[in-house]
Symmetry: C2
Subunit: 437 residues, 2 copies
């Protein structure tokens, strides 16, 4: 075995961390299913032209067989998100799916970007999307902030601030101002958080050639926030008129109203949100960890009309993606999330002597039969050593039995030290003793 | 969007199939945890020299960034199994792990081989291994057949026949016969099932230059089977003596005895099992679906002494790998495993009219709050149409409510047609109505 060093950007967790990650993914999945999303997985690879049709080509890892012909063109690459593979999946299996098709997908994705804190080259995304056949009611756009809020509320992570905006609102406003390069404007406005008001004003005028008052208006719009539908008045006060703007305003107002029973501070209109990817056509979402905004966006998505559609069929969709690895990697790295258990085992059966090994395995078997994760200590060490081995792994109970059958069975809660007689076919730990899964 | 065709060897399931796959993976995982295995995941890529140190290099997919320098050497490849990455993980994180380290790992792997029925280029493996620090009792070898039997017993798949053999037994026997090329002999003996007795005899004499009676003895050994430890006598009757043979015989007898309470036909000694990979050093396992042996081996593994060890540290291990995709792909393909539900939804809330959408969403929310997966029908169609939409997806219940509040709420079991008044804050479906997860 040769190199055994970490590879930058490809995180690996210890078992105690993976147990937490798994618990997080289980909670996410359960919540997705409660909301009626069905699971799918797509293959890890896509044809390069599918990947290149919507993506930033610098990030793609291409794949080749080790002994491919020297000059063979690479045909496939690893997916860098799961939205584009999902759109391809829907087109490919359209005849076998029921629409609106609500699906979730929790998979790893790969990006060949320069690794830095909070940026990974391999990471988990947890995506939900719904795709309609022909049309898709706005009610679906309103469902996502609630769903994301409810998930995060159940996870051992800081609360999320969910920002919502609408691309029609932005595009309508820009068009109302007489701006033609909508994509260019969106791209620069997207940097408001990073380069600030002055930087954005300068780029809008220098790079796009906007008039100073056009640029000022764009920035004014981008600074509007609100937790109810009051943002509508603020936008109207800027005095810009456009049909698309009105449509976007009423869509965003609908989403905000549908979320108004959520706790304060969780969901807000944030008119700075643009989302870099150019396929969004309506609602857009962007979420930050409260108090840890420096991590960057950890969840985002939006409405797209043309991602899965083709010339003949219109398949509009809306989706959101939760960056599980980004959140956990940050929290693990700062010591904000740690575990005291490195195994799902609830009971360690102590091994009195080598001859009792099969008897000890039988005790473990009887516990397992009733759903209690159990294991036999590997070696007939002194009991003190066996108890310390359980302690180090965070196993709550050690089981003792008398191989001669005289003293029967006893179980010891090593957190408190109480030791009581117990029957391997009847004794049951409390629910909190299990690693919540 | 360009190509939307399937890619040979990269299977993708429909939601109804993925629901089954997920249920299978959950059962596997729960069983692994009951036996005290802790979860880890390793990155999808490994340095090429790690992959090449133990593998068949023709199968490796190498990775390169799309815009890498033209002549950059590829450094990394996708893993083709999870045993080698696990051995690397153990070496890398040794100081932070507790030994014996029992871990499970359920991940996709990639092999660039020629696709054919039952062979995939991307597929799930579910692996368990235990690695000891310095030594590892044989009791662990005896645990795997039982664990695998218990898993398969809980899955909607045909029973497995678990064959067990021992490399020391084979090597000792071959050495006792005076054979020197042990690896070559193993490689040819491994083909017994494929090319038959005559083919193997011919290759042993022609390719390896064995004497006819040496070859005959090898084949005679390879034909021994048994469900108890009677195989020992049959081997001894061949009259070959070697220390390693005796050791292997007693190890295999120990494993067989520890499994003797399992139902007949499930676990047997099978002295033809060699396992192609050359890192095994003791117990080896190979499992087939009963009545579907033509699929090939769907589960296999064994004891290895030198995979994770290095010059300074001995880290012997034993593991087994279950080919989940191979099993499911075969059963899906033959129509031997199918599902009637394409969604986890238990209740579809009927939408009486567009104005009642928020009220309908509220009903769904109240059901979800109590853990019942619920969804709102997307459009205020005639109730007959909404019921048929639920039927098509396999949703058992449709919920009706009177938007004017006069008739209250009713729930209809669409499998039987019964419709009864129900309270969205109290009504609960039976356990079997949930998609078992």
């Amino acid at each position: 075995m040769a190199k055994i060093t970490p590879i930058s950007g490809f995180p690996e967790w210890l078992p105690e961390q993976r147990l937490i990650e798994q618990q997080v993914l289980d909670t996410v999945r359960r919540q997705f299913e409660l909301y009626g999303f069905a699971p799918i997985e797509t293959r890890a690879i896509e044809p390069l032209d599918v990947l290149l049709s919507k993506g930033d080509d610098k990030e793609i890892y291409v794949l080749q067989r080790l002994h491919a012909e020297d000059h063979a063109e690479a045909e496939f690459g690893l997916h860098f998100d799961i939205t584009i593979p999902f759109a391809r999946y829907v087109q490919q299996h359209r005849g076998q799916l029921h629409f609106p098709f609500k699906r979730y997908q929790i998979q790893k994705v790969w990006r060949g970007e320069r690794p830095q804190e909070g940026r990974y080259r391999e990471f988990y995304q947890a995506d939900i999307d719904v795709i309609g056949d022909g049309e898709l009611p706005l009610a679906y756009d309103a469902e996502f902030p609630r769903l994301i809020h409810e998930i995060v509320d159940k996870l051992p992570i800081p609360p999320l601030t969910i920002g919502v905006n609408n691309r029609k609102l932005l595009e309508g406003f820009y068009r109302g101002l007489g701006i033609e390069d909508i994509t260019g404007t969106l791209r620069i406005m997207d940097k408001l958080g990073k380069i600030g008001v002055e930087g954005v004003l300068q780029q809008l005028t220098d790079q796009l050639g906007l008039e100073p008052d056009q640029a000022q208006n764009c920035v004014a719009l981008g600074q509007i926030r609100g937790e109810d539908s009051s943002f509508t008045e603020e936008v109207r006060a800027l005095g810009i008129e456009h049909e698309l703007l009105s449509e976007g305003l009423s869509e965003l107002a609908f989403v905000m109203e549908a979320c108004e029973d959520l706790p304060p501070g969780r969901v807000g209109a944030d008119l700075s949100i643009a989302r870099g990817l150019d396929y969004y056509t309506g609602t857009v979402y962007e979420c930050y960890l409260e108090g840890h905004e420096q991590v960057g966006s950890v969840c985002g998505g939006g409405r797209y009309d043309n991602l899965a559609s083709d010339a003949k069929v219109k398949l509009p969709g809306v989706g959101i993606s939760l960056g599980v690895t980004r959140i956990l990697g940050y929290l693990f790295g700062r010591g904000l999330l740690s575990a005291d258990r490195s195994t799902p085992v609830v009971v360690l059966v102590a091994l009195p002597d080598e001859e009792s090994r099969l008897a000890a395995m039988d005790v473990a078997r009887r516990l397992r039969r009733r759903g209690i994760p159990a294991d036999v200590h590997h070696s007939p060490q002194k009991y003190g050593k066996q108890i310390r081995a359980a302690e180090r792994r965070g196993i709550p109970y050690v089981w003792f039995f008398d191989p001669k059958g005289e003293d029967g069975h006893q179980v010891r809660d090593i957190r408190g030290g109480q030791q009581v007689p117990a029957d391997p076919d009847a004794w049951t730990p409390s629910e909190e003793d299990f690693f919540a899964g």
